[in-house]
């Protein structure tokens, strides 16, 4: 076997799996989203009809779709910046020469990242319990009345955002930490000689030097946050008053609770389009500001 043949032979099994169980299904999803595939079609394919863009048009007229889209955008728009700020803050602290016990802190901050979303979401549901939760108990010490965290439509999404930030900030922190370590120390030295304070150093050296890393982290984090599902599924079941129903939650219910697989595929594609558009927007913004 020549090296050229070996190349294909070695790559083939993985490519076959990816094409068969990912590539083809994605194309099929596009086709499926143009049909009215429902529980009747599931029983007998003769009931399947081509409906063009009806699913998409129907979704754009469906208040529940807009509601779940709004919830997802809320989660992304607040959760992503908060998550990145928290990661960056932790990384800067951990990078400081004054910090002690660095390996311990790094491991502690990272531990929530590897835990199972479902399991830790269950913990948070109890921590934020209105009557018996530790959080409200803590707040009562400083004289704040109990908040109905997961039962109040105004508070449920912020609680899920807090949960996501807690769970995820360690991941980006590691990436930022590597970025910080690659900034040459002389830059700070020169700035100190010019009399720049800590904040000025952060603003004019650290942030610009981290530009490309920040862009990458922003794109990856956003892609992850758009896929919100397990958190509301466990913590609120999409409620109260649909205030935590995400786009993927809608897709799951349409597809695997009501078996409207055509409609669910349309939801998935709209989410994909939205993610692609946001990523392009971010790249465009970065290029305009001169970050590669």
């Amino acid at each position: 076997m020549k090296a050229a043949t070996a190349g294909w032979v070695f790559a083939a099994p993985a490519l076959l799996v990816i094409v068969l169980f990912f590539g083809l299904p994605v194309l099929a999803a596009l086709a499926l989203s143009l049909t009215d595939f429902d529980i009747y079609a599931l029983a007998d394919l003769d009931n399947l009809r081509f409906v063009g863009l009806d699913n998409y048009v129907g979704l754009l007229q469906n208040p529940l779709f807009w509601k779940s889209l709004g919830n997802t955008l809320y989660f992304v728009a607040v959760g992503v910046p908060l998550s990145i700020a928290m990661s960056l803050g932790a990384a800067v602290l951990l990078h400081s020469r004054l910090a002690r016990f660095k390996p311990f802190f790094r491991t502690a901050f990272f531990a929530p990242v590897v835990t199972t979303v479902v399991a830790v979401a269950v913990i948070w549901r109890y921590l934020f319990h209105t009557r018996y939760g530790l959080v409200n108990w803590g707040l009562s010490w400083v004289g704040i009345d109990p908040v109905d965290w997961l039962g109040d439509p105004n508070w449920a999404m912020p609680t899920i955002i807090l949960f996501a930030v807690w769970k995820n900030f360690g991941y980006n922190m590691i990436i930022f930490l590597a970025g910080l370590q690659s900034i040459p120390e002389d830059l700070y030295e020169a700035a100190r000689i010019d009399g720049a304070g800590r904040w000025k150093q952060f603003r004019h050296i650290t942030l610009p030097m981290l530009g490309p890393v920040l862009l990458l982290v922003a794109i990856l984090t956003m892609a992850g946050y758009f896929q919100l599902f397990a958190e509301p599924y466990v913590m609120t079941q999409g409620g109260p008053l649909e205030s935590t129903k995400s786009v993927l939650y809608l897709m799951y219910e349409e597809g695997f609770k009501w078996w409207n697989l055509g409609n669910a595929s349309a939801v998935a594609f709209l989410l994909f389009l939205l993610m692609a558009a946001t990523t392009s927007g971010l790249l465009w913004l970065a290029r305009r500001r001169g970050i590669e």
Binding site: A3, A4, A6, G7, W8, F10, P13, A14, V17, I18, F21, F22, L24, P25, V26, A28, L32, L93, L98, A99, R100, F104, F105, T107, A108, F109, F110, A111, P112, V114, T115, T116, V117, V118, A119, V122, I123, Y126, R131, Y132, L134, W137, W166, I175, A178, L216, V217, L220, A223, Y233, M251, Y252, G255, F256, S265, A268, F269, L271, F272, T279
Partner: protein, 273 residues
């Protein structure tokens, strides 16, 4: 003097963050040893009055936790082993073997990374239903058998293997398989450990796909079973916390033992990529 104050502030903030990160996990552990009903009091108790394993006993004897644990281990191990083999073969091929259409294929793979996996789920479900794989272990394993990210990770690392090493082996008459198993695999060892942890953790923590494809309770993985238990037993704090411990502990231990590899892989996959 100013330096001492700064050091104090930095370390105090770090400590605060560490407490916030670990407190929920430690609280879970503590409540899991409490008597049934003990945690549902005000003010919430932090420590079990008399520790015991009754919640764990209840979970394993009555709620079938052993079965879910077995399912999770089986599915995660299969995904890990199969994807390790397939991703390594492909990653090495893309890095070191010249073949027609190689670079175009790889670029296509990278471009496909932007498509969220959920887009494929509806047709995939129908396809597996046709194949009779819905409600089987295979159904949960199949989509995880190869991963673009894993191929990418191996390729990045395999590029550092010197070509002369491979050429020398070819001149000595070694077959491509022999080169792969005797030269390439040993050279890739660190990244293989990383990849193994990534895929095991990924499969263990995965929720949406197993939720869709495994409706039969006896086949469910820990996260799926835990989610449905938590709907039935909303008020059983102690039982649910024990369930969370059983779910989280294996992956947390795996991470603690092998964190060097995990973090190294995370960086190869993002910053240097």
């Amino acid at each position: 003097m100013r330096r001492t104050i700064s050091a104090l502030v930095v370390n105090a903030l770090l400590l605060l963050l560490a407490v916030l990160s670990l407190a929920p996990l430690l609280w879970m552990l503590s409540v899991s040893f409490m008597q049934p009903g003990e945690a549902g009091h005000f003010p919430p108790p932090l420590w079990p009055s008399q520790g015991g394993l009754q919640n764990y006993r209840e979970l394993f004897l009555r709620a079938g936790m052993g079965r879910f644990l077995f399912n999770s281990f089986l599915i995660s191990t299969c995904v890990m082993l199969i994807s390790l083999l397939l991703n390594t073969l492909a990653g090495y091929a893309f890095a070191k073997l010249r073949f027609k259409g190689r670079d175009r294929t790889f670029r296509t793979l990278l471009a496909a990374l932007v498509i969220p996996a959920q887009v494929a789920m509806m047709p995939l479900f129908l396809m597996l239903k046709q194949l009779g794989l819905v409600n089987t272990y295979m159904g949960a394993i199949v989509p995880g058998m190869a991963a673009i990210f894993g191929i990418f990770l191996v390729r990045q690392y395999a590029r550092t293997i010197p070509d002369e090493l491979l050429e020398a082996a070819r001149i000595d008459g070694a077959s491509e398989w022999r080169i792969f198993f005797q030269i390439v695999l040993p050279a890739l060892k660190p990244i293989l450990v990383t990849l193994a942890i990534f895929s095991f953790l990924g499969a263990w923590n995965d929720f949406m796909w197993p939720l869709i494809v495994l409706s039969d309770q006896s086949l469910q993985t820990l996260p799926v079973a835990l989610a449905s238990l938590s709907r039935e037993h909303v008020m059983d704090y102690e039982l649910m916390m024990a369930g969370s411990v059983v779910t989280v502990l294996p992956v947390l231990l795996l991470f603690l033992l092998l964190q060097r590899y995990y973090i190294q892989g995370l960086l190869v996959g993002s910053v240097k990529g």
